[in-house]
Amino acid sequence: MLEALAVFPNELAAGGLTRLFLVLFPFFVLLELPLSLLVLAGVIRWYTRNLMTTPRASLYRPRVSCIITCYSEGRDVQNTLLSLCEQLYPGEVELIPVVDGATANEATMEAVRDFRVDPVRYPNRFLRPIAKWQRGGRVSSLNAGLSHATGEIVFALDGDTSFDNAMIGAMVRHFEDPSVPAVSGSLRVRNSWHSLATVMQSLEYFLSIQTSRVGLGEWNTVNNISGAFGAFRTSFLRHIGGWDTHTAEDLDLTLRIKSYFGRHPLRIPFEPTAVGHTDVPDTLRGFFMQRLRWDGDLFFLYIRKHRHSMTPRVLGWRNFLMTLFSGFFFQLVLPFLIVGYTLAGLVLLPLNVIAVLAVLIYAVYLLQTLILYLAGLLMVSERPWNDLKLAIALPVFPVFMFFLRGWGVICTLNEMFRRGHEETSMAPWWVLRRGRRF
């Protein structure tokens, strides 16, 4: 190691491509630093703001409609429904499980049918299931639910996600402010300790959803309202036409809502105490296949569909920069740069230099991860003891993220050349074909 360090200045002096490498590569690394600092500042701001304000009792109790998209969850749907019945929210909650392809998913349909809402135990909870006998995809389920919803606030929830009992209360609170059209909720991994893959994903959810979105939400730059878990003002959602018949409907909707930001003083808060619990793929293979779908969709959305709305005029300057920076740049461009530089480095640099650089870069990312993790653990987490256990995965996390970025390149390429989103399993081909082409 020492030898390698000794060689370092010489290599730097040698100039040429190598120098370019050494100058540019840290630049990319450091580019992520401002974002991290922004997130960290946001978390600290959220935390101190929370400390200062005492929770006030509000009489704002609008009727809430929960659209629960169900497909092949089977009996697990009942856990979701039960967790919604159990909500501490004192207002009325309408549960609208929409079973997609009910003919094929008999077990799910049966589970929904069998579920009884005990009127003594849950006087304010109403079950109004919808069966879509033919399969129409998630978006059509959500829109069917929206057309039946009678609540002032509508929640879009996944049939395999269950929720903490403070969820609805915490989300609804934000809608008291009329400038809030949507609220994003936090997701946790339910099957954290099933495998190495699930542990890594737990940590990823904790850092990139729970902690990062607190930070981003504080600056009104929430990058996505997760599809498994978001709340919307029904009138606003109907005004913009509900969900669109395309993939990645969650990010799509987030971008469409944001396209109003330039004209109206709107904000999308993130509520970390509204927690949903979801299962993630058990195996690395399953995980990467899931990301192939999601990341491919990113390309589709940013490049193909929302190209024209990516202007400061539409999004407002702050969101334009953030979308450009965190969405477009970090999720689409940066992976290419990293992979490209890695490949170039492997070819151009001597082995010992690669080793030194790798250690350096690893150290920088580990430090960044560690800081974010500690901030999340100490200031955001509502289950710190659970999240403390995830610390054992921290040393591996930068490596995991490196491969994830590498995989992102493949996903984007796949989408570019194969229009991979049309093969997505979330909706069958005939639904997509009817949608607009880009």
């Binding site: 929770p55 009792a57 967790s83 159990e86 004192p90 003594v120 135990r121 929720f163 009992n165 403070a166």
Partner: protein, 460 residues
């Protein structure tokens, strides 16, 4: 052999071609015309059923062959002998058979009493059955139309009557139709089952959701867990966020609004809608409802006749009473035998006191009850047993060679019968019994006078 006279109740005599039949257009007209051997009721189903029942109530038509309706599907009205046969010769044929059987009944003696009528009805109809019919207006939901029709003005306690007939072996049980539960106080089956507080039996209880904390195991009503919109365990102060992982809902609990007690299982109480008596479910009387038919022994009795049964006797006169003097002598003799031979010379002495005899006998059904009780005593005691009345309401039974078990059995059966009457008809004979077994219960130096005085004191 002669032909039967046939009366036909119809609104359309033209539809019948028989000129020898007597037509009537109303029940009253038919009754006034005289007595027919066979009656045809040509009305629609509902009216026919009413007419058949009213005819059966009439002593002249208790046993008569009555055909009703033209329904060929076998749904002839209750108590009829089927729908009107299409072939008039079939009527004559059936009547001849019926007449033949009736002439064999009780050695040709026409029935006079209630039980004789019922037995005769069953006897003249080989397929005849006492069928229970369900009716929501009836306090026990089931009744036997034939028994009601024959009861005339003196309503018969159907359940007791059937039980007596069963015990005498004249009737046999058909398949179980239903099992009903009855109020032990008034015998009504109109019962309401309600959940009540197990502590104070108040009706006003409410389910109260409760929670179970996984961290410390604390179980308490839900209210105790809710603090300012949060769910906190009041015991360990853990924040409970998610059902199934932090807490769950144990068995349903109840809260009594009257005494505030908190319980898991409410008690079920049965309230009689007729007399408002409250029972626990296992206190209710269970009654099995079934059809009955004539048993082999019953048929034999109908054929051979029941002479001697019919003779009128005063209530107690039907027992072989001895004078009070003779009774004390016999008792003294029994006491000596028992003293001398001990266990080998068992004997029992039972005293029955009919405390409200006068009042009971003044009621219409009281005499029936008393008769039944005396019948029961008569059936139970043996030739060697002796009875005596020392006062109007005191009946002594001396049962030689009867040990405590035998005596208790007799007392139980009497009490049971008495209870049946009380539940069914509300007639109450205040029957107190006391019994002792010799020589075990005999006090030293006790003779018949002392012993009878001692027992007399116990029932007074």
């Amino acid at each position: 052999m002669q032909s039967p006279s046939i009366g036909c109740l119809t609104r359309d005599p033209g539809s019948f071609s028989e000129s020898r039949w007597h037509y009537a257009s109303s029940l009253n007209e038919l009754r006034e015309q005289g007595e027919y051997d066979v009656v045809l009721v040509d009305l629609d189903a509902a009216d026919a059923a009413d007419v058949v029942f009213l005819l059966r109530c009439d002593a002249r038509y208790h046993l008569t062959l009555i055909y009703a309706g033209r329904d060929r599907t076998g749904n002839a009205p209750e108590l009829s002998d089927g729908s009107i046969p299409t072939d008039p010769n079939a009527i004559t044929e059936a009547w001849r058979k019926w007449h033949q059987r009736l002439s064999e009944f009780n050695r040709g003696r026409y029935p006079e009493r209630f039980d004789e009528y019922v037995l005769a009805w069953l006897w003249t109809r080989p397929e005849g059955r006492l069928k229970p019919v369900r009716h929501p207006h009836h306090a026990q939901f089931y009744y036997y139309p034939l028994l009601s029709a024959f009861a005339d003005n003196e309503p018969v306690n159907e359940m007791v009557w059937l039980q007596l007939m069963m015990e005498q072996g004249w009737l046999e049980r058909g398949p179980l139709t239903d099992r009903i539960r009855l109020c032990t106080h008034c015998g009504s089956a109109r019962l309401n089952y309600v959940d009540v507080c197990p502590d104070c039996h108040a009706l006003e209880i409410a389910r109260e959701p409760s929670l179970h904390c996984f961290t410390c195991g604390h179980v308490a009503p839900q209210d105790h867990f809710l603090k300012q919109g949060l769910m906190l365990c009041p015991n360990c102060l853990t924040r409970l966020r998610h059902i199934g992982s932090d807490y769950d809902r144990p068995l349903e609990n109840y809260r009594c609004r009257a005494c505030q007690s908190f319980f898991v299982d409410a008690e079920v109480e049965v309230r009689c809608l007729d007399c408002d008596t409250h029972h626990t479910p296992d206190e209710l009387r269970i009654r099995e409802v079934r059809p009955y038919s004539l048993s082999e022994q019953g048929r034999l009795r109908c054929r051979q006749g029941f002479s001697g049964e019919a003779q009128a006797e005063s209530h107690f006169g039907r027992l072989n009473l001895v004078s009070a003097n003779a009774f004390t002598n016999l008792l003294n003799w029994q006491i000596q035998q028992s003293r001398r031979y001990g266990e080998t010379a068992h004997g029992s002495l039972v005293l029955l006191r009919f405390a409200n005899l006068g009042e009971a006998l003044s009621q219409e059904r009281g005499t029936t009850l008393l008769d039944s009780l005396i019948d029961r005593i008569r059936e139970t005691i043996r030739e060697t047993d002796r009875c005596a009345r020392t006062r109007d309401e005191l009946l002594w039974l001396l049962l030689p060679h009867t040990d405590r078990q035998g005596m208790d059995r007799l007392r139980e059966r009497l009490t049971e019968l008495n209870r049946l009457f009380r539940e069914q008809d509300g007639i109450h004979i205040d029957l107190r019994t006391v019994g002792i077994t010799l020589p075990e219960n005999l006090l030293p130096q006790e003779d018949s006078d002392l012993l009878m005085a001692r027992l007399g004191g116990e029932v007074s």
